[in-house]
Structures are given as C-alpha cells and as structure tokens.
Amino acid sequence: MEETTVSFEQLGSIANKLRQDIVRMLHKSGSGHPGGSLSAIDIITYLYYQQLKRTRENSLAIDRHRFVLSKGHGVPALYAVLAEMGLIEKSALDTLREIDSPLQGHPDVVRIPYVEASTGSLGQGLSIAQGMAMAAKLDNFATKVFCLVGDGEIQEGQIWEAILSAAKFKLGNLIIFLDYNKGQIDGYVKDVMPIEPINEKLLAFNWDVHSIDGHDFQQIHEATEKAIANVDSPSFIIAHTIKGKGVSFMEDKASWHGKAPNDEELEKALIELRERG
C-alpha cells in the first residue's frame, strides 16, 4: 500500500486544528451545523490532502480531481479545509453566514468556485458528482470524483436514481463516502426512517462497497485506494462516524445537528480539542 503524502498522524493533527476552526466559526456566526461538520472533517481532510492535493495552481484545472459536498450543511468543514490550504483567507472564516460574505450558509459555487457545486437541498450532489465523472470519462481524463452524502440524505429518492445510473455507466471514477453518523434532525436515522441494510442495498445496485471507521485515516486511505483501483464500477464507502466527533458534549447528539455553540460551550470545546493536540 502506497504511503500517504502526509502521514496519518499529520492528517490527524490537521483535522484536530480544523475542528477548532469549525467550532470557532460556528460560534462567531451564531448558527450552522456542528454535528455533521465534525463527523465529516476527517474524511474531507484526507481527501483534500491525499487525493485532491489542492494548490492555487491546480484548483481550477479542467482535469482536476473533484469533491462534491452533497450534504451541504457540513460546509464549515469544507471552508476550514479550503482556508487551511490557502484557497480562501483564514480571516474569511469569521464571516460565515454574514451578509455579503462569500461564505454562505451552504456551499455556493458562484461565490467560491472551489466548492465545486452549490448544495444544501439534500439529495442532489450525488447526481452532480456523477455528471462530473461522466464528463471526465468522455474526455479521457484521469479525474476521480469524490462525493460525501449524509445518512439522512440517502432517504431522498434522487440519490437512488443516481445510484442506479452510476452502475449503468460503469463510473469507476466515482467514489461516494457515506457520513454514517446515525443521527439526523428529528432523531436517530433508525427511528426517523431506517436505511439498513445499506451494504446489501448498494451491492444489489451493482456498486462496490466498503465499510470503515470514518475517523481512522488508515482505514479511510485503504478503502479509498481500493475504490480507485476499481475502474469498472462506482464505489460506496460506508464511513461509520460520530456526529459531533471530537467535542464530548456534542457527540452522538441530534440536538447538535444545527445549533451553534455559545461562549461557554466554545470554551469547553476548544480546551478539549487543544488537549488532544
């Protein structure tokens, strides 16, 4: 197995730093989605550092690898990574959701092209990612298209339309991560609208499926490399995650889906995260 460019330990360190950026920007904006941003940040950090390898020079190249955040409410995680890589200003993170800020409450591709697509109405990003993969295939580019969907999100019918078609078009360059943090807004996914058995469903739709701990960089890396090696069918990586991961009082709580931390909560969160280093 190929070594990662950035070591797993370094990735962990970066992700921990970005968790601090996430809770800080949400505290400043007073609204937004900590639970789903914290569950996703490890996957997004890995993809940008190890697969997309974004620089200012390659970030808008026509044959670039792409990442679509279909669960658009997790955008604080994406903004944090883009800022860390120098594609947006770090100071811009303080303007999340403010009037006239390019950092809209959900990804806006017109204001910030680096987010690749405007999302936020769940269920749509997978189709967009599919279209990117199909265009790349038509052009014979070596592009890989990654997409992160939420577990509540796969209750949307359009997701399954795209899962049907991606298999038809044999999109080996399309790799989906499921941020399986088990919670949505009205409660646990299993209570709101159960989605199991996911593994069997995706296999039945002729996808390749992997199941990992979405906070373990080695597992993320190994599954991604396997998915990349499969050029004949699209891949679905079920990443078991924890909503609010990294901040003990947010973990596994539906109530932290869409609530910003107050002063006291921010303080507590930062102390925990800094201790982890």
């Binding site: 697509a117 405007s118 189709s127 599919q130 199909m134 359009q158």
Partner: protein, 309 residues
C-alpha cells in the same frame, strides 16, 4: 415549408449543434422518440446519455457535466422537467450551470394524452428563477436559430417546444433575436401579444378581424419570455392603447403575467390575459383542444372582439 412541430425542428437543430460544437452532449429520460433527441443519439452515441425515467437525476447529472465544461441539452416533456423544480432551482439556476433544458409537449396542444402530459405552468415557474433564460420559438426557423443561440448563451436556458405541427411565421427581420419580440403585423387599434403555437392563430385572427372591419390590430410574437422585451411591450401600450395576450399556458404567471407586470409598472393600459383560464387541460385532438380553450383562430377572434373597444 409545410407545417412542422417545433420539437421536430429542435431534433434537426440538435444534430447540427452536435456537428458544430463538440462540447454539446444530450440527455433524455426515456422520451427521445417524442422529444426528437433520438436523431442526435443515433448520430453521436458517445455524447448521448439515456437516463431512464429519472428526471431529477438527469437534471443534476447535466449540471455536473456543465460544471465540467460540457454543454448539455436535456430533454423531456415540459411538465416532467418542472416537476423536479428543486433540482432546476438549486443544481442548475443557483449553480449557474450551463444547462439547456428542453421541455417539449407544451400546452393543451399535445392533445389526446391529456393533462398529466401537458406543460401548462412551466413558463410561470421558469420565469421565477434568476439566471434562467426562457425561450419559446414560434416556428421552424425560430427554433433552429434559438437552439444555435442557446448553445452559445452563457448560462441556463429553458426552451419550450410543441408536439403539434405549427405554420411558418412571416418574420420581418431576423427570425430569432434573444430578448426581442417581433411585430408580425402592424395596426394601431390594439395589440395581440402571443407566443409559441398560438402566434400563427393570433395573426390569422387579426387578419380576419381587419377584413371584417372590426379593428386593425398589431400582432407581436414574443419568443423570449425571460428576459422579456419590455420596450416593445410598453410601446404596444403607448401606441395602440390596449393589449390582449395569448398563450397555450395558464394565464397566471406566464406570458400574460409577464406582460401584466411590465405594463402595470411602466405603461398601464387595458389588458386581457388569454390562455388556459385557471383550469386543467384535457384530452382531445390538438385541434379540438385548441378549439375548446379558444386558442385557435376562431377562439381568438371571439376573445378579441369581446375585449377590444
């Protein structure tokens, strides 16, 4: 030339676009024999994508292809496209994705299949979206030119096409100019502003009314619903004092709505919106449907004679 449905003209234009522009790709949702995208499919199989009966996925996938530099034309019946409005709103309009949405089978003119397949609210919905250009060519040559225009237009376009054959229109100048209406017939007793399959009948109605000494009416063809030619519409008010709009679409929010907005803000005058009068469409032959909904020559004469003073 003989009567031709604008969907058929579109099928031809699409092949020409495919020959001229390598970035054009086409998608359909199991209706390519009806939308006439099948000609392109046969000629350029690598650039045609059959998406099956999954319109939402088709629209989103097209957005992804557009964001990757392609120029996708996606085809279905008008009503089935707007049925997936959230995807059009978010993935196309809000992304400003260079997708050309083609809605065929507009209006009651489709005939026998009835309401479920008739596009009757699509102009109202598409008009409400920023970034979305809305075009409805009135005849064959306008369709050819509108498709050529659409390929090069920067941003999303909605193209509305008929199932039924339509007659050629007597264009005074260029057949299609984006954002501009055309005066097909001059007159100063009032104006009939029409779009799509009703333009020819509006013209025929005006000719007959004039022959019968019941008024000499201007006839305007609006082929771009959004952005609409406000200047021309205001001129219809100031020059001819009263306006009748005609469309194969509900009267709320389509051409009539757009004209009402322009006139009441800038040049109020007597206005009547004629079209499908806030009822559902129904089955019949296209001729019977046009007759019942008063969108044919006789129907428009009746409405015009009743309205114009």
């Amino acid at each position: 030339m003989a009567k031709k449905a604008t969907r058929a003209s579109f099928g031809e234009a699409l092949i020409r676009a495919g020959e001229k522009y390598p970035q054009v790709v086409v998608m359909d949702a199991d209706l390519s024999k009806s939308t006439k995208s099948d000609g392109f499919a046969n000629k350029f199989p690598q650039r045609f994508f059959e998406m099956g009966i999954s319109e939402a996925n088709m629209i989103g996938t097209a957005a992804g292809m557009a964001l990757s530099g392609k120029i996708p034309f996606i085809c279905s019946f008008a009503c089935f496209l707007i049925g997936r409005y959230d995807i059009i709103r978010m993935s196309v309009a809000y992304c400003d994705a260079n997708v050309k949405l083609v809605g065929t089978h507009c209006g009651v003119g489709i005939g026998e299949d009835g309401y479920s397949q008739q596009g009757l609210e699509d102009l109202a919905l598409m008009r409400a979206l920023p970034n979305m250009a809305v075009v409805q060519p009135g005849d064959h040559i306008q369709t050819l030119e509108a498709v050529e225009y659409a390929v090069n237009h920067k941003g999303p376009v909605y193209l509305r096409l008929t199932r039924q054959a339509v007659e050629d229109l007597p264009h005074p100048g260029r057949a299609f100019e984006f954002g501009k209406g055309e005066i097909l017939r001059e007159g100063d007793d009032g104006t009939i502003i029409a779009t799509g399959g009703t333009v020819y009948y509006s013209l025929a109605a005006a000719e007959q009314l004039n022959k019968e000494g019941k008024g000499n009416f201007r006839v305007v063809n609006i082929s771009t619903i959004d952005p609409i030619d406000s200047e021309l519409i205001e001129n219809c008010s100031t020059s001819t004092r009263q306006v009748l709009t005609v469309e194969d679409h509900v009267i709320n929010g389509g051409l009539g709505g757009a004209v009402a907005e322009v006139l009441s803000e800038n040049a109020p005058c007597r206005l009547k919106r004629h079209g499908v009068l806030n009822v559902f469409g129904e089955s019949g032959t296209p001729e019977q449907c046009y007759k019942k909904f008063k969108l044919d020559k006789e129907g428009i004469i009746e409405v015009a004679a009743d309205f114009f003073k």
